[in-house]
């Protein structure tokens, strides 16, 4: 099968779906759902086609599309994927498809909801396939708006506060990115927004300029990850967001932060990356791991607990990236993928019980295992995955991260590894309070997982199990691009140090 412009298709099919939804009469609620499903399904198919046709032997950009857009500033419609982005494209397509089905319990304003969900989908996909900085930025910002409305209209009681907090935080981050983007444009010999060209001329950037840009970009991306101390919007957003939106938020959105650091900080500012990563990614990543886990332990809200655990697990990604070893950096991106699937599961599971009980107080449940055995079983599976149990996907990525980082930052690794005990602690404790013990009388009539809920969970569970035994399926995509990137940073670091003396 041949396909021209697969990246344009995969990005804009959801947008076409959005337009169809907008013209669909508001009364036809079921139609909106199925249009959304029909718009995300081809996206998943194209993602699989890309996976099939991706050349794993080269770190170069593939499926490239390059058209002029705004000539005064040499802006191009430039798309392409390498190993780093294709893994994120796969993740985005999968999570978006699943989140449509996880949204079926939404019972008001369906038309607007699915239209916004599809717009969000386009924005996220666009971020991962853009290679022109301007285009990247447009997609990066386009995504904010649907997210604002999805949290703000369909969210929980404090939704307005959470939505505007999310919007303001991320906009603050993105304007910093905009400034750096303009700075990079004018700094080089040839003004350009082309990320590959910017990376190619990175040797000519002075180290001071790189440092300033690096830190500004880092703040922009760290808000998205979210890295300590910019993380405070996330628990609010998660608690108020409807289930499917939490799934997307944790599954895909957070990865944009780390993806941005790899794609822009590492590739375009390698010397500064080499110099600054140990603190901004290593130390802050470790703080994320430990602090996130401790916060998770203190939560009584089921969803907030998962939100903090998500912050904690993103710390491993940062730590792996700071290691500049093949194992560490590959582990980091694999962890991005695995974190996407596992937290998506966890948030769906929270949604399942919230739909039935309409609250999420961990202490308000008890003994659900008797009433909902299947649900409890899958929750157990997801919790074990979250703890990083061998045989499940997160184990591989976390071990790779810790192994890679061990050679460089042993203290951080000790802290990170020790946190596994905390993680096991809060997850098991939570499991015990909700699922074990005597059944709370109030919940006697609860039905077990429906077919739809199972349909959203099982594919993720299968993937988690599969990647636990065969991580090569994703690693093979990554390694060439990542090792190349790692090499770029490693050579640029000492070169800059020499130039300094």
């Amino acid at each position: 099968m041949e396909m021209t412009n697969p990246l344009t298709l995969i990005t804009f099919i959801p947008l076409a779906g959005m337009i169809v939804v907008l013209f669909c009469p508001a009364r036809m609620k079921a139609a909106c759902k199925w249009i959304a499903a029909a718009a995300t399904a081809p996206q998943l198919v194209i993602a699989l086609w890309l996976y099939e046709h991706f050349d794993t032997t080269t770190p170069a950009m593939q499926f490239v599309e390059h058209y002029p857009w705004i000539s005064t500033y040499h802006i191009f419609y430039f798309m392409g994927v390498d190993g780093i982005s294709i893994s994120m494209v796969l993740l985005t397509a999968l999570i978006c498809f699943i989140s449509v089905f996880a949204s079926f319990s939404i019972d008001r304003g369906e038309k607007g909801y699915y239209a916004l969900l599809l717009m969000l989908d386009t924005g996220m996909m666009g971020v991962f396939v853009s290679l022109d900085f301007f285009l990247f930025y447009v997609f990066w910002e386009v995504m904010l708006l649907p997210m604002y409305f999805l949290i703000g209209i369909w969210g929980g009681p404090r939704r307005e506060y959470a939505a505007i907090k999310f919007f303001l935080y991320t906009l603050l981050g993105s304007v910093l990115i905009l400034l750096v983007m303009l700075g990079l444009y004018y700094y080089g010999a040839n003004p350009t927004f082309d990320m590959t060209q910017l990376a190619a001329q990175s040797a000519s950037y002075s180290i001071t300029f790189q440092r300033i840009c690096w830190i500004a970009l880092f703040v922009g991306f760290a808000i998205k990850i979210p890295a300590f101390p910019f993380h405070t919007w996330l628990p609010d957003a998660h608690v108020e967001a409807p289930t499917a939106i939490s799934v997307i938020l944790a599954g895909v959105l957070l990865k944009m932060g780390t993806y941005g650091i790899l794609r822009i900080n590492y590739a375009i500012l390698p010397a500064a990356s080499h110099e600054l990563a140990w603190f901004f990614l290593g130390v802050i990543g470790t703080v994320n791991i430990v602090y996130g886990a401790m916060c998770a332990m203190a939560q009584t809200d089921y969803k907030k607990l998962i939100a903090y655990s998500s912050i904690s697990h993103m710390g491993y990604v940062m730590l792996g990236m700071a290691s500049f070893t093949a194992a560490g950096i590959n582990g980091a991106v694999l962890q991005m993928f695995n974190h996407g699937t596992i937290t998506a599961m966890l948030f769906i599971l929270v949604g399942v019980i919230y739909d039935r009980a309409h609250h999420r107080e961990i202490n308000g449940f008890g003994g659900l295992a008797q009433q909902m055995p299947l649900y409890t079983g899958i929750t157990g599976f997801a919790f074990f995955a979250g703890m990083g149990l061998p045989g499940l996907s997160a184990f591989i990525s976390e071990v790779l991260v810790l192994l890679g980082a061990w050679q460089i930052h042993p203290i951080m690794v000790v802290l990170g590894a020790a946190t596994a005990i905390l993680t096991a602690g809060y997850l098991l404790w939570c499991f015990q309070r909700i699922y074990l013990g005597p059944l709370n009388e109030k919940y006697k009539g609860f039905a077990d997982l429906t077919f739809r809920e199972g349909f959203t969970l099982v594919p993720l569970a299968v993937l988690v199990l599969f990647l636990g035994w065969y991580p090569h399926a994703v690693l093979v995509l990554l390694q060439n691009s990542l090792n190349h990137l790692n090499q770029v940073v490693l050579t640029a670091g000492p070169a800059a140090a020499i130039a300094l003396h």
Binding site: V138, G152, L168, L171, L176
Partner: protein, 495 residues
């Protein structure tokens, strides 16, 4: 070229048409008992004026009427922009409940006359002509602001406008007399030659003259510290007039400001950058004005509960962004200013239009009237207003982002980093108040007994065009940018 009176007329068709149109409106008003076609007649006249501007020959330019006016690409840009603003204002007037209660004949005739005055502002190359054009615009604006004779707010606004305007133009003409004393002429090109030659005595004298002139122009574009009139006037005037003042009058002010500060008292160096008078630090002064205007406009807007006042402060802040392009002393900066003003025209007109639609439906202008708008049958206006407000914030995929991008890019190119950072932080602050109506419309429940939002077909049409333009130009700006690119050309004589 330097054309005499009769030879100039063939470059003057749009102005002639507007003059004839204004008189036609008065005549029709006198003869017809039913006044309703007046709006449509004016709409046709403004559309024709726009068409005539579009048909004008492209040339490097010429002087008209013995060097009173100039015909050049820069003037074409602003006349087109002002004609577009008039078109929107007239179109809105047709669908406005406030305007329907006014005297139709006077209203449309004065509106067309005001448009004529703004055209002349964009074309003047003589201080006297510039002053007359500016005063003409001011006087017609006072009338239009106070046109709702039985509305106290409208009367109060007109009076405030008049008093502030009187003071500002008095200071301005005083400044002009200093320039005349220093350069010995009112003609921009002579002023340029004399002042740049350096035989003008004290740089301080020139600076004082410039500050005085800036008072008058700063008042027209509502920049800090001459902005105090704007919120009251914007609130008191009928909404189509508010729109016209916010986009048309401001554009005309920027046109005259640019023509005076660039070709009249600076010169274009070989590098494509402009050089001001040595020792006269007006760029630094404007730099401060620009930063303060953005910041103050945005901070004040945070407190507003009336949508017209909110948009008034927002338009002060927006003028600050456009000024940012202006102060850079580069052609890229001027281009950024033109792009920004065009973008601002599209989005601000749209925002005011929705305010008018809501005012028509509910009779209210406070943010409370927007609560639950989407749930009260106003989904389409609510979506449109969201697009316009996001565009005013500068979120990508809207024309406002393109405008901001050009401004910030031009500032970065000239290494005005601090200014760029101030501008960018300002746009984050502005998000908060621009999202307040959005939150009210979509996130909050309607108030008890709130009226449903009905939209007239005329308003729907205009809203659709503006919303589409906001998004389409945001995604594909080259037509707008090419237009701006072609327009950075001032005719300064054949030498």
């Amino acid at each position: 070229m330097d054309l005499g009176n009769l030879a100039s007329l063939r470059y003057f068709y749009p102005e002639l048409l507007l003059t004839a149109g204004a008189m036609l409106v008065v005549l029709v008003d006198l003869t017809l008992r039913d006044k309703s076609p007046l709006g449509e007649v004016s709409l046709v006249i403004t559309a024709l004026a726009l068409l005539l501007i579009g048909l004008e020959p492209l040339s490097s330019g010429t002087w008209l009427f013995n060097r009173m006016l100039v015909f050049d690409p820069f003037a074409i840009f602003f006349r087109a922009l002002i004609a577009l603003a008039a078109l929107v204002a007239v179109w809105m007037s047709i669908g406005s409940d406030e305007v329907k209660r006014c005297e139709q004949g006077e209203y449309y005739a004065v509106l067309l006359a005001s448009t004529l005055g703004m055209f002349l502002m964009a074309e003047s190359v003589n201080l006297l002509m510039a002053y007359l054009a500016l005063e003409f615009v001011s006087l017609t604006s006072y009338v239009l602001t106070g046109i709702m004779k039985r509305n106290r707010r409208s009367q109060e606004a007109a009076l405030k406008y008049l008093i502030y305007g009187g003071v500002a133009s008095g200071m301005m003409i005083y400044g002009m007399s200093w320039i005349f004393g220093l350069a010995g002429s009112l003609d921009f090109s002579v002023i340029n030659r004399e002042l740049l030659a350096g035989g003008h005595g004290s740089a301080l004298a020139v600076f004082i003259a410039l500050v005085l002139i800036l008072t008058g122009l700063g008042y027209k574009i509502a920049s800090v510290p001459f902005h105090m009139w704007a919120p009251d006037v914007y609130e008191g005037a009928p909404i189509p007039i508010t729109t016209f003042l916010a986009i048309g009058s401001k554009a005309a002010g920027f046109a005259l400001l640019t023509r005076f500060f660039y070709p009249a008292i600076s010169h274009l160096s070989a590098s494509g950058n402009w050089e001001g008078l040595r020792g006269v630090e007006w760029p630094q002064l404007l730099l401060i004005i620009c930063a303060v205007t953005m910041t103050l406009g945005n901070l004040a807007a945070l407190q507003q509960d009336n949508m017209k006042r909110l948009l008034a402060y927002s338009s002060i802040a927006q003028a600050g962004y456009a000024l940012m392009g202006f102060v850079l002393l580069s052609n890229d900066g001027i281009r950024a200013m033109l792009v920004y003003l065009f973008a601002y025209y599209v989005m601000d007109a749209g925002a005011f239009l929705v305010v008018m639609i809501v005012a028509n439906a509910t009779g209210r202008e406070d943010i409370g009237a927007y609560r639950g708008l989407a749930a009260r049958g106003g989904t389409v206006p609510a979506i449109a207003l969201t697009i316009f407000l996001l565009s005013l914030t500068g979120i990508p995929a809207t024309v406002g982002f393109i405008g901001k991008f050009y401004v910030f890019a031009a500032a970065m190119q000239r290494q005005f980093y601090v200014l760029a950072v101030i501008g960018i932080l300002n746009s984050v602050v502005s998000l908060y108040y621009y999202m307040r109506p959005v939150r009210a419309m979509f996130l909050e429940a309607p108030e008890e007994g709130a009226a449903r939002c009905e939209v007239e077909i005329w308003n729907y049409g205009l809203m659709g065009i503006l919303a589409l333009a906001t998004v389409v130009l945001g995604l594909y700006p080259p037509p707008m940018i090419d237009f701006a690119n072609r327009s950075i050309h001032f005719f300064v004589g054949s030498s």
